[in-house]
């Protein structure tokens, strides 16, 4: 049984302590909703789990995962930047991610359809709106199978229909014994998600 455990995590960025002593546990088939005001460290926590930041202190452990891979290599990180190349078409962008992250090339067409962009597959990504760009980034989660999803404000630019689509995808992933960590201050329709509130001690602005 897969279980992601963070214990006593402390994050310092630019000399400022973002959060201290944060702990959480997410098991397979569970979602964790990270909430808190701006600057409370939601994004930093996700980047920490994705291996894109190093914790000042504390441990991150994945039980029951693939021992030969790091947590980051078993995770999808969906950040604020969509990692799209404007001059490549949607299909080329998604195909690149699929090959880079080790997915099945045949699934990328299905993934485009799942986010409602299959009609635009040949269009260069420069013509996409912000919401469509985010949908294309979300297609990556479907095209490449990875057990852990780390979603940073995934709904911020999505319309109501796309938010519902994303909530469906998250529920599907959780139902398939996946593991989801979502940082959000907006409402996300996730029934039974665990909650982690950040921002109690961070607002004091203590320096390390």
């Amino acid at each position: 049984m897969m279980e992601l455990v963070g214990s006593d995590l402390t994050c310092v960025r630019g000399g400022r302590q973002v959060f201290r002593g944060v702990g959480f546990t997410v098991c397979a088939g569970e979602a964790l909703l990270v909430t808190g005001p701006n600057g409370s460290g939601k994004s930093s926590l996700l980047r920490l789990v994705a291996g894109l930041l190093r914790p000042q202190q504390g441990r991150l452990k994945l039980e029951g995962g693939d021992l030969e891979l790091t947590i980051a290599e078993q995770a999808h990180y969906l950040g604020h930047q969509d990692a799209l190349k404007p001059s490549l078409s949607l299909r080329e962008n998604l195909g690149f991610w699929t090959a880079l992250l080790g997915g099945d090339a045949a699934k990328s067409g299905h993934a485009l359809a799942a986010v409602g962009l299959d009609g635009l597959a040949h269009l260069p990504a420069v013509y996409l709106s912000a919401g469509q760009r985010r949908r294309l980034a979300i297609a990556r989660l479907i095209a490449v199978e990875r057990p852990i999803w780390l979603l940073d404000e995934p709904t911020s630019v999505l319309d109501v229909a796309a938010q519902a689509m994303l909530a469906d995808l998250i529920r599907g992933h959780v139902g398939g014994r996946g593991l989801v960590v979502v940082a959000s201050h907006g409402p996300i329709a996730l029934n039974g998600a665990k909650q982690l509130r950040l921002g109690h001690q961070a607002d004091q602005g203590t320096s390390p």
């Binding site: 930041l53 090959a99 880079l100 992250l101």
Partner: protein
């Protein structure tokens, strides 16, 4: 392997599409070499003597000019974050990016050098020598530049700082590149001596560049 092949194909594609910037280096190289005869004057023997040095200088500056596209763009749009979560070693991934960068910015310089050699009154033998030394030496410029690109990746518009960091490290490549070209044209040193050192510099930079750049990128995680 598929992941690296995909990275290589994507970078080559990006370079030749609109806004890819593959042509910036080669245009700069052409401009620089074209104005040299006007600056130096129509003294053909003098041009012939300066020719290899001018071509090498142009190639060096053109590679420096293109370096800030090597990693900075992928950092800005978040692609570098994805490369971190890919199941390939970071060293190999950025070495692949450097290879793609050399194929789109370094190799065109090698191809253009013989044509521009005509403007500098180089005879066929001298032209051949310059092209061969550029072929052997420009990968070193890219892979040494990779270290600078990794160090300055988080700085917006870090282009000038990048050039200042990288330029001193590329001086040996310039010295042995020009020395090998001149050895082939006028002697008295045999061509092989400086050329072997040039090849050694390239091989070393191909190994050390990606390792050092990966360390720099990982340090930047804090």
């Amino acid at each position: 392997m598929t992941a690296l092949a995909a990275l290589l194909t994507r970078d080559l594609r990006l370079a030749v599409r609109v806004g890819g910037g593959a042509l910036i280096g080669i245009l700069f190289f052409t401009l620089l070499v074209t104005v040299v005869p006007f600056a130096v004057g129509p003294d053909l023997p003098l041009l012939g003597r300066l020719g290899p040095g001018m071509l090498w200088l142009g190639a060096l500056l053109a590679s420096l000019l293109a370096l800030d596209r090597l990693l900075a763009m992928d950092h800005e749009d978040g692609t570098l974050d994805l490369i971190f979560t890919a199941r390939v070693p970071l060293e190999l991934a950025i070495a692949t990016k450097a290879l793609a960068h050399w194929l789109t910015t370094g190799l065109p310089l090698v191809v253009a050098a013989p044509l521009l050699g005509l403007l500098l009154n180089l005879d066929p033998k001298a032209t051949g020598a310059v092209a061969v030394t550029l072929l052997a030496g420009t990968p070193a410029l890219t892979f040494i530049g990779l270290i600078g690109a990794a160090l300055t990746v988080a700085l917006r518009r870090g282009g000038l700082l990048l050039a200042i960091l990288v330029l001193p490290l590329t001086v040996p490549v310039l010295i042995f590149g020009v020395a090998a070209s001149n050895a082939a044209i006028v002697g008295p040193v045999p061509f092989g001596t400086p050329f072997t050192v040039l090849c050694a510099l390239t091989l070393m930079s191909v190994v050390i560049g990606p390792l050092a750049a990966a360390i720099a990128l990982r340090q930047g995680l804090e």
